[in-house]
């Protein structure tokens, strides 16, 4: 067991965990932040994407101890009280989700894209979402939603 400390959605947190605890399980089980999902568990689908020190990362492939002292933002940390994040609003308005399982990861990846590229083209958006898989929507409305925020 080890004590791990990090900042999650603006709050300093710490917990005693087994060293082989994945970041996604730490967030879901220890922090009760279940918006981050475990999809493929093989680093491909992106349902587990969160931000770590300003970079979108796959939390299913990171140990919680690797996130020691780092700043984590999950999907729960995007909205400002009742005010949804622009990307969340755009997803809602453009029917960019159906079952919603991939959605937190899609939104977190999109938020990172918009922080890194000021005017992404369709091509840029599609390339950036290479690590996020959706089985429901066919991606069209996801791209549309992200373009709306650009």
């Amino acid at each position: 067991m080890q004590l791990v400390k990090m900042n999650v959605n603006g709050l300093d947190v710490s917990s005693e965990i087994e060293i082989n605890t994945l970041l996604v399980d730490f967030l879901r089980d220890n922090m009760n932040l279940t918006g981050t999902h475990v999809g493929c568990d093989t680093s491909q689908c992106g349902a587990c994407v969160v931000h770590m020190d300003g970079q979108s990362v796959k939390s299913c492939s990171i140990l919680a101890v690797q996130a020691e002292q780092k700043k984590i933002t999950t999907i729960e940390g995007l909205a400002d009280g009742d005010e949804l994040h622009p990307v969340q609003k755009a997803f809602k308005n453009n029917h960019a989700l159906q079952c919603g399982f991939c959605t937190p990861g899609m939104v977190m990846s999109a938020v990172d894209l918009l922080e890194k590229k000021s005017n992404p083209s369709d091509e840029d958006i599609r390339e950036w979402l290479e690590g996020n898989i959706c089985r429901c929507t066919g991606y069209q409305n996801i791209i549309k939603a992200i373009k709306e925020v650009v």
Partner: protein, 267 residues
């Protein structure tokens, strides 16, 4: 995942000490090869040595003495693909890094980790061989061609850690990868580099390890254009045959990728 001890050394010396004193240690930098491996219980290290905190081995610079590019082993694929120094001097290398995995993987994956792992389908080995790279460790230096020994096997000893990789700057170069549509790995990846009086052609993804193509190199040294390769015949014997592609298909892909690479290098 089986359990293990976890260490975060602050220096290379501390890391080497741990590699020597622990029972069955594994180094982790980005972890996007090791963690998936552990999750599938394909490895059971006693200790994990996290070197991602060590200073001084994640910078990218242009060496003034011999005009080589020096890339610190902890440089992420994201960093390499966005580095002004790499983009200006070896744009094909920046492109190669930008095609690894996906954006989230590129933030975490490091060149040192990729090279030390020596996946036969990884992209970097082709670049290292074509760019006459030197792999520098805490213990010595290796020429790229001597470094990659076999599938997932390098010349590194158990307590050796890559610190930097040095690259020659070619006059022209290009990397073309036929990407597996699911995994993104190279079914075939060809890196061609033209120098003053020679050309190096390296192929990854097609065999148990990266290899050069001397016949193609001779043809391209005589005349560096895609036409020179029209009559080139590539042996499928010895190439990988698996669920993704037969060895014959890989042989075909090598030729088309190489011709594409030459066209791109000439642009």
């Amino acid at each position: 995942m089986y359990n293990f001890n976890y260490h975060k050394p602050k220096t290379i010396e501390q890391a080497v000490e741990l590699m020597n004193s622990c029972e069955d240690p594994k180094i982790i930098s980005g972890g996007h090869t090791l963690i998936p491996t552990l999750k599938q219980r394909l490895a059971q290290p006693s200790d994990i040595v996290d070197i991602s905190n060590i200073n001084g081995i994640s910078d990218i610079s242009l060496e003034s003495i011999d005009s080589r590019i020096n890339i610190g082993s902890l440089s992420s694929h994201y960093k390499v693909s966005n580095s002004d120094i790499v983009i200006q001097n070896i744009p094909s290398l920046a492109y190669l890094a930008s095609q690894i995995g996906d954006p989230q993987v590129r933030y975490r994956g490091t060149i040192g980790g990729s090279v030390a792992n020596a996946d036969p389908s990884a992209d970097y080995p082709a670049a290292l061989v074509s760019l006459n790279s030197t792999v520098v460790t805490n213990n010595g230096k290796y020429k790229a061609e001597d470094f990659f020994v076999d599938m997932f096997e390098t010349s590194l000893s158990d307590d050796e850690i890559i610190t930097n990789i040095l690259f020659d700057i070619p006059i022209k170069s290009a990397y073309v990868k036929f990407r597996n549509p699911a995994s993104g790995y190279a079914m075939v990846g060809v890196f061609v580099a033209k120098y003053h009086s020679s050309v190096i052609v390296s192929v990854t993804g097609a065999g148990p390890k990266v290899f050069r193509m001397s016949e193609a190199e001779e043809l391209l040294t005589k005349s560096f254009d895609a036409k020179s390769l029209n009559e080139l015949r590539i042996e499928s014997n010895g190439l990988n045959s698996d669920i993704h592609a037969s060895s014959e298909y890989r042989a075909h892909l090598i030729k088309t990728s190489l011709q594409d690479a030459v066209r791109i290098a000439l642009k």
